[in-house]
Symmetry: C2
């Protein structure tokens, strides 16, 4: 062996195109103790049922199986209760075998993309979009097409125009209920039309639904999957129980679910029997879970109203904003077209952070918009955060 050639380390060409999450980078930058961060998408730490989780964990650990490898598709008890929840929400007869449990709904999205897409395939996303979806589809080599979102959610007319123009996407992704980042909800009429378009043009709707159960005023929106067959529904325990359980799920047509389960085998063998058993106990205890959801909804609604009232007081007609009816996010746009990317460092200097709209952009730049989460702080703190934002913006 003589002189060594300085070989570069092997790196996939395709992966170079995937953008990092501006939001996760931002969270690092804004993780200063003196900054009130409205930037994150984390559920409220003070509302996570930690004591109940501790009790359930201690109970789960009484069984040897709780620390062993488990089935790739998830522990049976969890698949059963998820099937019951999904049957009730969609009005369909969803069986245990139809559910694949994943490491958060993010893993369901990643596996689904890898199972359904080949490089170069077309995928429709909302514009603005959930950034984690953009990353997943870029990693799968997809060609992204944005469809605008208005106050009734994805503009299905605009989607139909693309389809009439010849676009044949494999997937159409939507955060239909309490949209991240726009804070809006797809109307039921549009949900039905979306399913009809899926039947006609052969795409699969990806109904990414981590927030649906956090509805402020009445029952959760009827899922898209209640309107048609060509839907892969992604659910999550992260926002309604706790992120560290790493429990999400996929309910999809059998061919698709089977592919996801098979790919999950090689991706991580299985999830955690322990945290899945805990999630199963909490979701199956409907008396407790219903009461827990009620208190979550009440708290988040109150926080959302405090934030929007403070925004109205501070900015009045200088901004337009969404009116959250669930979920965790409010979307704000400055009417004077100011650049929220330039505003952010000034805001951090004033002790408050948000995500600039550009982070969620697909085609339209969104440079004068921003996303605020109202989930993480009690009302007085949210009001203080808005005062800081207003000071930074003047």
């Amino acid at each position: 062996m003589s002189s060594l050639a300085p070989h570069p380390y092997p790196l996939s060409a395709r992966l170079r195109d995937v953008r990092g999450s501006a939001i996760r980078d931002l969270l690092t930058l804004t993780a200063r103790a003196d900054v009130l961060s409205l930037a994150g998408g984390l559920p409220a730490a003070d509302l996570l049922p930690r004591t109940r989780i501790a009790d359930a964990t201690a109970r789960a650990l009484a069984a040897p199986g709780a620390v062993q490898y488990s089935e790739t598709a998830g522990v049976a008890a969890l698949r059963e209760v998820v099937a019951a929840i999904e049957s009730a929400r969609t009005g369909r007869d969803i069986g245990t075998g139809d559910v694949v449990v994943t490491s958060g709904s993010q893993q369901a999205l990643d596996l689904l993309a890898r199972v359904t897409l080949d490089p170069g395939d077309d995928v429709v996303v909302e514009d603005p979009a959930y950034v984690g979806a953009l990353q997943v589809f870029q990693a799968a080599g997809a060609v992204l097409h944005g469809v605008p979102v208005d106050t009734d959610g994805m503009d299905v007319d605009a989607l139909e125009l693309l389809l009439l123009g010849g676009l044949r996407p494999r997937l159409v992704h939507t955060v239909a209920s309490f949209h991240n980042p726009r804070g809006v909800t797809l109307s039921q009429a549009r949900r039905a039309r979306l399913c009809a378009l899926a039947d006609r043009y052969g795409f699969l709707v990806v109904e990414d639904d981590p927030y649906g159960l956090i509805a402020f005023d009445g029952p959760p929106p009827v899922p898209i999957a209640a309107h048609g067959e060509r839907v892969a529904r992604l659910g999550s325990a992260s926002k309604v129980l706790a992120p560290a359980l790493r429990v999400g799920w996929l309910v999809a047509p059998p061919e698709v679910s089977a592919g996801v389960e098979r790919l999950k085998q090689s991706t991580d063998l299985c999830g955690s029997a322990l945290t899945q058993t805990v999630a199963a106990e909490l979701l199956a205890d409907t008396t407790w879970f219903d009461e827990h959801l009620r208190s979550l909804r009440t708290a988040y609604r109150s926080r959302a109203r405090a934030l929007t009232a403070a925004l109205d007081d501070a900015f009045g007609d200088a901004v337009t904003r969404s009116t959250p009816t669930g979920g965790m996010f409010c979307w704000v746009e400055f009417r004077d077209g100011r650049d929220t990317g330039a505003l952010l460092p000034r805001a951090v200097d004033h002790g408050v952070a948000f995500v600039p709209g550009a982070a969620f952009a697909v085609g339209t730049p969104r440079t004068s918009a921003l996303r605020c989460s109202f989930a993480g702080y009690p009302e007085p703190v949210l009001r203080g955060a808005v005062l800081r934002l207003a000071a930074a913006a003047t």
Copy 2:
């Protein structure tokens, strides 16, 4: 919207080529209460430190952060203790920032393959190989090339011949210590030569090392990464603590680790803060962990010797077998060339299961071989299992 065309559901062309895990399918078939299964790769349920995990879990849940989202690369306490363990094992100065925690080492392997490979790239694997690696590389679209394994591990001469013949693999994957399924260990001389070849030909060695700490007779083998820079080391808590923690890790050159961390962001956002905090406590409690490892090694060694003695008694010269010096597996080959795939259903009828050699084959068929795990049962049960196998084989 008029008559509906019956569109098939979208499925990736590439994923159709990935073989399912014959082993996981087999585990389902052989999960009858009356069958003693030597087929699985599960650690011994009776040796998993469930009480210690329960104590650590209760402690971890005292902190709010234990149920929240966490850093993509893993909680800091776990990365720190893994860096210390890896530094001690490899004799290199590995920092916290060099460690990416994953959902078992399987996820590290999947992310690594996706980050380093483009479809059509060449990858060298051992023959016979760890099936989970074959699945990962197939899913990444790689072209697989098998290199034989003998009693000193991967035949590095055979690898060099392929390289001299023009093959330029991006990755060379090896379970160098206590090989799955062959039960052998790559010699230190071959480890050094493998690193020299990696430097010369520009590939990255994937040192997949879930079993290294379970060395029966003396210290764990010095890792390949002690011999060179072009190594990605994969470690796991599944075999030495518990699978349900879903804790594995990657230590690799910075460019590669950064790619893995970025891809993990979109793959599942992060692992579980709860189980990672538990793993950190157990690994950092070196007094407890060293004693736990000592008892694991003693038990596994005793089980290995019971199995091999029973095999010798029952089969004598009719088989050749590996002599396990660590890990969980023994490899057996019938000298008469009998088909172990055909033997399996008869064995199950006699109340014992194993994995036929063909499941691990890359090029060489291995139809007269089988893999037995000695990890799962105490000695008398292992002796009974071998008696059943002998009865099925006559």
